[in-house]
Amino acid sequence: MSADSTSTTAPEGQAAADGASLPGGNAIVFDHVSMTFPDGTEGLSDVNLAIAPGEFVSIVGPSGCGKSTLLKVASGLVTHTGGKVWVDRDQLGYTFQDATLLPWRKVQDNVELLMELRDFPAEERRRIAAEKIELVGLTGFENHYPQRLSGGMKMRVSLARSLALNPAVFMFDEPFGALDEITRERLNDEVIDLFVREGFTGIFVTHSIPEAVYMSSKVVVMSRRPGRIQDIFEVPFAYPRAPEMRYQADFSELCGEISLSLRKAIEG
């Protein structure tokens, strides 16, 4: 696994057959990962990051620094151009910046979509969908079309859709950026609830430092493009987290430290 950032043959993300084959028992490992786009711009440069199972890691960084690219590389949506990625992509949850629901499908059918693509039997699909719809608090809305739902409700459908596959790793690509503050904070709590209940490994890209601190066990600050890992902050607060935490001194202090690091990242 020697680093070779100039290598143009893209190493495939290693789908681990058994959890033991991931280095150090981690859930995700970025090993000297770099990403150069076809037009020559460098998206990521020598990223090294290991995320243990059951961690919730947020990634903050200047806009355009490659935060989303990191998720795309980890999920296999784009292939990196150097280094190695270790992750089990078999049970992967992924939410995009918008809910990406299929507008011609009712809530129920949207939640069943991924199971359909995985050829789950119809009865199992219905049962799991009902369960996940209840989990995100949308029972009663099964037969609504997305156009009649609010932005927050659409996001909940999107979460339920991913949860249906019982993901071991759940990637969030700035999912709540377009929502209002109140809805956003409520969804933060709901995602933490889901994280505590379902026990997935979370990797969460966001612009908001308080959101990152509130949700995560670790906050990663990326440098400006080409993105590298600049700093990693451990968040010492225990789960589940109470909304009052946002107003405590040590919370603000940590936010301040991360802010400072981010400022350095922007200035380079």
Partner: protein, 294 residues
Amino acid sequence: MSDTQIPADTGKHRRANIESHEATPVAPPPSVTRRLVTNLVPPILAGILVILAYAWVRSGLPPHRQFLMPSGTGIWELAFGIPDFVLELLRRSVTTMAIAVTGLGLSISFGCVMGIVMFRFLFLEKAIFPYLVVLQSVPVLAIVPLIQSALGFGFMPKVLIVALFTFFAVPTTLLLGLKSVDRNILNLFKLQNASWWVTLRKACLPFAGPTLFAGFSISGSLAVIAAITSELFFLSGEGGLGQLLMNAKIDFKYEQMYAALIMASVLSIAVYLFFKWLGNRLFSHWHEASGKQQ
């Protein structure tokens, strides 16, 4: 916004005009009759205006040229009032519709296949699309004699002409619709390793539906016109409305010609409305524009 901030001497500034604004009570939803009135009165008024204009132009014609614009009573007495003629009109409508619908069917089936093929293979899109535009810009009327010479006077050459008229809108609107699927929806399918075929069926085709049906409406309203045009060049045998138009001219029966024209418009509108209705039924529950009027 106090008055004192405005220099008094310029005279250009409006003086603050503070008044209370009354609330308006919630308006009751418009009743059915009211909706009917707002939807029906404007087209009826416009129709009456057209009829008046027709009558006015007609009254200005010298008597020996008035046959060009038959009167309403004339059209009734010499065309729609004669049961035999109405039967003939209907029989000929069926003939014309058979040509139109078969040609449209060809366009839609081949057009959809071509749209999907172009979507699948970029090099085929690059290869085919320019020639679609070329085909669309060929004056079909000008190649009708060629089609006639090559294929004779039967049913199929007319169908081919309809297909030439109506083809363009189908693959182009389908391709446009297929290509406008949200990038992240495609990513969603990609993350599950969905095959191209599954992605097409479950994401791209439903998404392209409303756009495709807009294409169908365009093609549909052209199909009847194309069928009638094709008949103008094929006068042998038992023909449709186009042949009736030509016969009426030769026999100097202009009332019958007008009757055929009216029938042709009705058929054209019917095909258009059919696709509108079908599109609404299929898509209005999720696609905003599909549910709207027009």
